[in-house]
């Protein structure tokens, strides 16, 4: 199949499966030392905290009307107000909870489905594998957002958790696909073969030998699904398919769009919510970059900043190894 090559690239160099717990721990620390991953985790952490305490620390009730209609940012309203004088900062702070809950619920659900389908397909092989792979490919090819819109549009009332469930049901396929390929290659490795030859029970092989080696890929799939879920949910809210009275960042944009915020030049109405999405999305993407570089060392940057390399006259290139005469200088 045309598509086998993609997964080969993301999966070839895996963390050594036979590694002792100590090595695994060191590798985990290595992951945290990755600047990209760290930045991403901090961003996500800030939003997670906001999701918990946002509704309490919000300066006012996001639904409270006031006489400051459509006012730009001021001391009273840091991010201005909407057409009914509601405080936008409060809407964003209160809305964070909905975004995070739906994002992570959908992420967890989709990851569970993805792990079940992917690992099973990769481990059992044969006809079962063919069927499960075909199933995940079908779900990959069917455009998810229109499907979600059609499902959500036919539900009488689509609340946060319903949306999360719909997103999870349509968005698990990518993770399953990658996990299947990786399980397939793990199954042929010596330590798994050895465990099978020793008559270990399948359940134990899966939990003790296979799953620990899939951690990075499962994590990457989870982060990817959370990103997808956050964006989908906000998109759904923006086009008004889901309940427009539950605050999340998409709802803010929905009201902004409905009330011609663009034409009225009310930038404070739609810019902050968008930037929050972008920031959270960037945090998630950075974590995934970190995982990618952790799993595929070829992607890691070469270790030095471009400026330092230039100073030493090094141009890292394929096929033309840089030559500096430092060894001689050192000797002199």
């Amino acid at each position: 199949m045309a598509t086998t090559t993609t997964t080969a690239v993301t999966t070839t160099p895996t963390p050594d499966g036979a590694g002792t717990p100590a090595i695994r721990r060191r590798q985990r620390l290595l992951f945290l030392r990755n600047a990209k991953a760290m930045t991403g985790l901090v961003i996500i952490g800030v939003f997670a905290v906001l999701a918990v305490i946002g509704p309490w620390i919000a300066p006012m009730d996001p639904d409270a009307l006031s006489s400051d209609v459509l006012s730009p940012p001021s001391a009273a309203h840091w991010l201005g107000t909407d057409h009914l004088g509601k405080d936008i900062l409060s809407q964003i702070m209160v809305g964070t909870r909905g975004v995070m809950i739906v994002g992570f619920t959908a992420g967890i659900l989709a990851t569970v489905i993805g792990v079940l389908v992917g690992v099973t397909a990769g481990y059992i092989g044969g006809a079962g594998d063919e069927a499960l792979s075909a199933l995940s490919n079908v779900f990959l090819v069917i455009p998810q957002l229109p499907l979600i819109i059609v499902i959500a549009g036919q539900l009488p009332s689509a609340g946060g958790l319903t949306v999360a469930a719909v997103i999870a049901v349509t968005g698990w396929a990518w993770g399953a696909r990658v996990l299947r390929a990786q399980t397939l290659s793990l199954r042929r490795r010596d330590f798994v073969e050895a465990a099978r030859a020793n008559g270990e029970r399948t359940w134990r092989i899966l939990t003790a030998e296979i799953l620990p080696n899939l951690t990075a890929i499962i994590a990457a799939g989870f982060v990817g699904t959370v990103t997808f879920a956050v964006i989908s949910q906000i998109t759904l809210a923006f086009i008004g398919v889901t309940s427009v009275s539950d605050w999340n960042w998409g709802t803010i944009l929905f009201w902004a769009q409905q009330n011609q915020a663009l034409a009225r030049g009310a930038w404070w109405w739609f810019a902050p919510a968008g930037l929050c999405i972008a920031l959270l999305g960037m945090g998630l993407t950075l974590v995934n970059f970190g995982i990618d570089e952790f799993v595929n060392p070829r992607l890691r940057s070469t270790g030095l900043h471009a400026r330092e390399l230039r100073r030493r006259g090094i141009r890292p290139r394929i096929g033309f190894t840089p030559v500096v005469h430092e060894a001689e200088e050192g000797r002199r």
Binding site: G303, P316, F320, V323, A327
Partner: protein, 353 residues
């Protein structure tokens, strides 16, 4: 065009003129403050028409040496010092490491060609074999596509592959055939030096033998010099004129093949030879080398072989031994070991005459 090149071909029995001289080559791996010093002042001379074997355990730097000398080492490899002098047929000399990009590009394949480790991955999977041989020719000679393909067909025949395989893609060839195609490709411009990095490792024993014999036969006919890199010392003893043994990024012994086999002078050479069964002649006891190769990022100050050496003494820990004459001052041999400084008596197993 090929005729003019053939006319300049050296006589079949070459006098010992150097064609590639590696002097003091140092290579780091990693651009940061704490790189691994994977080659540390390696010097090696390849003479016209000879087969030089380069042996050592994996990770000793033997492949790095070949890649660095041609500047093909991938990032984060870094050549930090030394010269690689190439002597052309007309006697002109140039330093490969000092060439500009354009000059290096022009010299590649023409002067020095390489056959890589994995025949599987050395061929571009999306181009036909003929095209891959021809594009190398056309990059250096002003010939048409037709002519280059004709030459490619000739080359395939030379390595025993039917010319109608020109239109095959690499995945349609067997492993042995791919490696032959690589050899044909490398010989396309009649290079003076052929670097072969484990060219037979991925093949089965029968195929290995065929390829090795083919290389020997082609060298006889075309007169190129070969650097043959392998961890299989017994293979080298059969086919190489001279053998250099590497350990931890240094050459520890350099001697004619027969002599190093019968009379190793370095404890590591001796150990390495004893870890392979000889192909011919009397059987001898096999033994592995105890211990593991050192971590190249943190080498001790003295001789890197000390932890595994049965003859290690205080002198070995004091400083790094350099390549010099043996204790018996044999011509054409050198060794890097304190045992040959004259201060100690050479143990019996390293002193056979």
């Amino acid at each position: 065009m090929t005729a003019t090149v053939s006319d300049r071909r050296p006589p079949a029995v070459p006098e010992r003129t150097p064609v590639l001289e590696i002097e003091n080559l140092s290579v780091d791996y990693g651009y940061d403050d704490d790189p691994a010093h994977v080659l540390r002042g390696v010097s090696l001379t390849l003479h016209r028409g000879e087969v030089l074997g380069l042996a050592g355990e994996s990770g000793c730097g033997k492949s790095t040496l070949a890649y660095a000398a041609t500047r093909l080492l991938p990032p984060p490899g870094l050549v930090t010092g030394g010269r690689v002098m190439f002597t052309d047929r007309d006697g002109s000399r140039s330093d490969v490491l000092a060439l500009s990009d354009a000059e290096l590009r022009a010299a590649r394949w023409q002067d020095v060609a390489i056959v890589f480790q994995g025949a599987m991955n050395s061929l571009n999977p999306v181009f036909r074999v003929g095209r891959q041989i021809a594009d190398g020719i056309r990059a250096h000679r002003s010939v048409g596509r037709r002519e280059a393909l004709d030459r490619a067909a000739e080359l395939l025949e030379m390595v025993g592959i039917s010319p109608d395989r020109l239109r095959d893609y690499p995945h349609q060839l067997s492993g042995g055939m791919r490696q032959r195609v690589m050899i044909a490709m490398a010989l396309a411009l009649e290079p003076q030096v052929l670097l072969m990095d484990e060219p037979t490792t991925a093949l089965d024993v029968v195929m290995q033998r065929q390829i090795v014999e083919q290389i020997a036969e082609l060298r006889e006919r075309l007169g190129f010099a070969v650097v043959f890199i392998t961890h299989d010392v017994s293979l080298l003893i059969e086919m190489a004129d001279r053998i250099a043994i590497m350990y931890a990024g240094e050459i520890v012994e350099d001697a004619p093949a027969r002599e190093i086999y019968q009379r190793p002078r370095h404890p590591y050479s001796s150990a390495l030879l004893h870890s392979f069964p000889p192909l011919r002649g009397a059987r001898r006891e096999l033994s592995g080398i105890p211990g593991a190769p050192p971590n190249m990022a943190h080498l001790p100050t003295g001789c890197p072989f000390v932890p595994r050496c049965p003859h290690a003494a205080d002198a070995c820990r004091a400083g790094r031994p350099t390549l010099g004459p043996t204790a018996f001052a044999e011509a054409g041999r050198s060794v890097a070991c304190t045992l040959h400084d004259g201060a100690r008596e050479v143990p019996q197993e390293l002193a056979q005459r």
